[in-house]
């Protein structure tokens, strides 16, 4: 079965997310759609899958134009999708999730899960997936959850399978496994659309590559193209893939974490017995697959976690029981994982977002009164320093692009007297230009003698920035290794394999 898109255009207000995109995917090939964050890949695939309607253009399957108004139409046309954010209901079992939307019934509408269980067993056996149909999805690791999505697509006989950034949540070894399975499916005649921004994976698995930049198709490439070629096509200019940095100038021990445990409110352990030291002038990167306790550990550094025991010492001061405010004022800059949810107040102006932390202290506040002029002055200074591209600092933060939002967060957090920078997924979802800015800034902080604790699920980022790497697995620091450790070894550690 082949899938063809002609002239697909999608606008969101003033933004053209997809601009007259043409694409043809044949049966029996893996067709990679390569583009940086925000290029419009996900929008395009959501259109193909019926979650969004295009403003212009047509979709045809096997040469016949079809109307896709809902996922139901897509599924009927043999198009299946594995979503970047899994479309699974956490409180349902695997089987319930798989039958949802295609329920078999017996008698007066009673659910029949037996057939689904058998089908799950069949597909699991074929691809060596170890999936229990009666497990609750919320109890499963992300890697297994992704398999549930793949199983679902296969059970419904998808001939075209779209995988949207499928490797983001996987270890390198799991990624290899997934790529192998994709090839297996291709060999059985499926057309596979592989959406990604990771060059290495494209070169390894793709048969054809289409590159999208700012909503437009800018070219095609063959898998034999070099990483540099692909990168410059993707970004539109030559990109250096390495971060320039000198050897670290190590200072005193800045941060000591001793036997830290974190529980959630049901008493489940999220972080177990983590201990480490961080020196001034060093980047310690915490690598690992998402959901292994990194988010919670990062939050615990600034008092955002409730059930914490152990000890955190910053420059000789015990901050384990500090409030967030105390932790921030003791010299921590905190870049939260989700800038939309935790970093910014999107309905507030840029000015206001820049003083969230200091709004009630001089010079911004004079007693209980906020001084509007000082706030405006501060904003204009930060906007220049951090190159925040905005029409006016009085505009709402929601009007900014992702990269500029992150710059607002950086500007706010780095403007206090800072000893330690805790950055959680600081480049997630950013375009390459912004990624470079953030990386340079992080290295600049390190070089000016601050300590950096970086949490990242992107192995490339970890390798590029780290002076030492800690690998986190199921809430533990499974190892702390030098920055030049091989990817393969890091991958094994991320999967919990200790040597």
């Amino acid at each position: 079965m082949s899938l063809e898109l002609r002239g697909i255009t999608k606008r969101f207000g003033a933004l053209t997310a997809n601009d007259s995109i043409d694409l043809k995917v044949e049966a029996g090939e893996i067709h990679a759609i390569l583009g940086e964050n925000g290029a419009g890949k996900s929008t395009l695939m959501n259109i193909v899958y019926g979650l969004l309607s295009p403003d212009e253009g047509s979709i045809s399957v096997d040469g016949k134009v079809i109307n896709i108004n809902s996922p139901l139409d897509a599924l009927a046309a043999g198009i299946g999708m594995v979503h970047q954010h899994f479309m699974l209901i956490p409180v349902f079992t695997v089987a319930e999730n798989i039958v949802l939307g295609h329920e078999q019934v017996k008698g007066p509408g009673f659910l029949d899960l037996e057939t689904a269980r058998k089908e799950i067993a069949r597909v699991s056996a074929e691809f060596n997936f170890d999936v229990d149909p009666d497990a609750l999805v919320e109890d499963l690791p992300v890697g297994i959850q992704q398999r549930v999505e793949i199983i679902r697509a296969l059970i419904y006989d998808a001939k075209v399978l779209i995988l949207d950034e499928p490797t983001a949540v996987l270890t390198p070894q799991e990624t290899d496994e997934l790529l192998k399975n994709m090839k297996k499916l291709r060999d059985k005649g499926a057309a596979i659309v592989f959406i990604t921004h990771k060059l290495r994976e494209v070169r390894e698995a793709a048969d054809k590559i289409t590159i999208i930049r700012r909503g437009k198709v800018v070219g095609t490439a063959s898998p034999t193209a070099s990483q540099e070629e692909l990168a410059s096509l993707m970004v539109g200019r030559p990109v250096s893939l390495d971060v320039d940095k000198a050897a670290p100038q190590l200072g005193e021990v800045l941060l000591t974490v001793d036997q830290l445990n974190i529980h959630d409110h049901t008493g489940r352990a999220l972080v177990k017995g983590v201990s480490f030291e961080l020196r001034a002038g060093e980047v310690l990167a915490v690598a690992g697959v998402q959901g292994n306790g990194q988010s919670e550990l990062a939050e615990a550094m600034v008092g955002l976690q409730e059930h914490v025991d152990g000890k955190i010492t910053l420059a000789g001061v015990d901050i384990t029981r500090s409030t967030v405010r105390e932790a921030l004022h003791s010299g921590i800059a905190f870049i939260p994982e989700s800038r939309e949810e935790d970093g910014l107040i999107s309905s507030f102006s840029i000015e206001e977002n820049l003083i969230l932390d200091l709004h009630d202290l001089p010079p911004f506040a004079n007693g209980p009164v906020i001084s509007q002029s000082v706030v405006a002055e501060n904003a204009s200074k930060r906007v220049t320093e951090f190159d925040i591209r905005a029409q006016s600092a009085k505009d709402a933060a929601s009007s900014l692009s992702g990269g500029n939002k992150q710059k607002v967060v950086l500007a706010r957090e780095l403007s206090r007297p800072v000893k330690l920078v805790v950055a959680s997924q600081p480049t997630r979802g950013l375009d390459v230009g912004s990624i470079e800015f953030v990386h340079e800034r992080i290295i600049a902080e390190r070089d000016s003698g601050r300590g950096v604790l970086l949490f990242s699920t992107e192995l490339d980022e970890v390798v590029a920035l780290a002076d030492r790497i800690a690998v986190m697995y199921r809430g533990e620091f499974i190892a702390i290794v030098p920055a030049d450790t091989s990817r393969e070894e890091l991958g094994l550690l991320m999967a919990g394999v200790k040597r």
Binding site: F92, L100, V105, R152
Partner: protein, 425 residues
């Protein structure tokens, strides 16, 4: 690096422990206040016969001090049982229900010292008072499980009461009145559905405004038409109870459950259907899916807003039917604001019952029983002011949502409007 497995109690366990401690304190309190404090006991008479059921025991007379003492002792014993089962990591539900019943009985022996308690009648009245609560809570389950907050239960009940009473009077047929009650409730729901789902208006605000609208409308029409033209507009009479052969003869159970009006029997049917459908059918699976994660449901081809729309309409119909209980199930004629906040207690029962049909029914029964007990004790006279008894369900609900009874978790997408392609996940 070694793993230090910290053996600490999980939150549910801590909560259960807190529950046991609370029960222990309450038990001792009962022992001291109800059984030991009063200087001398007086006889309490419990009567068990209500109608023409088979007689097992007619009356039971017990000294109030002795009674309180016995039941306080049983309550304390059940606390011990609960503690043992907690140790054995078993559920303590059974022990806590025993505790609840015996604590109440201990209280009753004390409060009714020297009085006559029609025991069967007390329970029967409790069931009756909980009927509209149960219907209302079911309306909440239907709508909120699919992700639409239903604060308008009060309005739906009131609309059902008004329309059923008026139409039964105008058309001289209770059955026709009963038929239109769900339609009235569904009409209110239609407004809720259109504004909340189509226009995406905040559901709490909306439900609130709809209540005001229904109260205003019914009050207006009541004064304008029902009072001046009472003989034609407001002269309905209540349904007579139907005794189920044999079943109604069972002592205690019979008069309580099987000698009721048609609306109560309809309630049994509604609750059973909702409970089974929600967990065992295709409809139930889809309902829960759109209430938990609408984007995921959409991605497998389910029309989220259509399901929500339907469910909200059915919810209104169920509440409307419950509204008919105020008129046709009880007194026949309609009176101003006769639902008197029962819709909000139904909402409380829904939350107390953690959005599960049977949990909500249990909570509604407890609230109904407390309400009836309060009424009875006000008449017979007790040491506790009736206003405080009236407050009890509300305070119990506050305690429940404050996490003492467990962390109450609503369906994840409850109250969040869904727009295609703009999903929040």
């Amino acid at each position: 690096m070694s793993t230090t497995e910290i053996r600490s109690l999980s939150a549910p366990e801590r909560r259960r422990r807190r529950g046991i401690i609370t029960m222990g304190v309450l038990g001792l309190f009962a022992l001291a206040l109800f059984a030991l404090m009063p200087k001398e006991g007086q006889p309490v008479t419990y009567s068990f016969v209500l109608g023409n059921e088979w007689v097992l025991i007619k009356e039971w007379i017990i000294n109030s001090k002795t009674g309180s003492l016995i039941f306080a002792a049983i309550a304390l014993a059940s606390v011990v049982l609960a503690a043992l089962q907690f140790r054995a990591r078993k559920t303590i539900r059974f022990a806590s229900s025993i505790f609840g019943v015996s604590f109440l009985m201990s209280f009753l022996c004390w409060a009714a010292a020297g009085k006559f308690i029609p025991f069967t009648g007390l329970l029967q009245g409790g069931l009756l008072l909980s009927v509209p609560l149960i219907f209302g809570a079911m309306a909440g389950v239907l709508s909120e499980r699919s992700g639409v907050i239903n604060i308008a239960i009060e309005g739906q009940l009131l609309a059902g009461a008004f329309v059923s009473g008026v139409l039964a009077s105008l058309l001289h047929s209770n059955w026709l009145g009963l038929l239109f009650a769900p339609i009235a409730g569904a009409l209110i729901s239609l407004l809720l559905a259109v504004f909340a789902i189509k226009y995406g208006i905040d559901q709490v605000v909306l439900g609130f405004v709809l209540n005001v609208l229904v109260i205003g409308l019914t009050n207006f029409l009541y004064k304008k038409l029902l009072i001046p033209y009472q003989d034609t507009w407001n002269a309905a009479t209540a349904f007579t109870p139907i005794e189920i052969p044999l079943l109604s003869k069972i002592p205690l159970i019979g008069p309580i459950f099987f000698s009721q009006s048609i609306i109560v029997y309809l309630m049994y049917v509604v609750v059973t259907i909702i409970h089974i459908s929600l967990f065992k059918t295709k409809w139930g699976l889809r309902t829960r899916a759109v209430g938990e994660h609408p984007t995921a449901a959409e991605s497998v081809g389910i029309d989220v807003n259509k399901i929500r729309f339907k469910n909200v309409l059915i919810a209104g119909a169920v509440a409307g039917l419950g509204g008919a209980f105020f008129t046709l199930g009880a007194v026949g004629s309609f009176s101003k604001e006769m639902t008197a906040g029962k819709g909000f207690i139904a909402l409380a029962a829904l939350i107390f019952g953690r959005w599960s049909p049977l949990g909500a029914v249990a909570a509604a029964l407890i609230f109904g029983f407390a309400d009836n007990l309060q009424g009875l004790l006000t008449i017979t006279g007790t040491p506790i002011p009736s206003e405080f008894m009236l407050m009890a369900p509300y305070i119990a609900t506050i305690i429940a949502v404050s996490g003492f009874v467990g962390r109450v978790r609503a369906p994840a997408a409850d109250g969040v409007a869904y727009k295609r392609g703009g999903g929040s996940h």
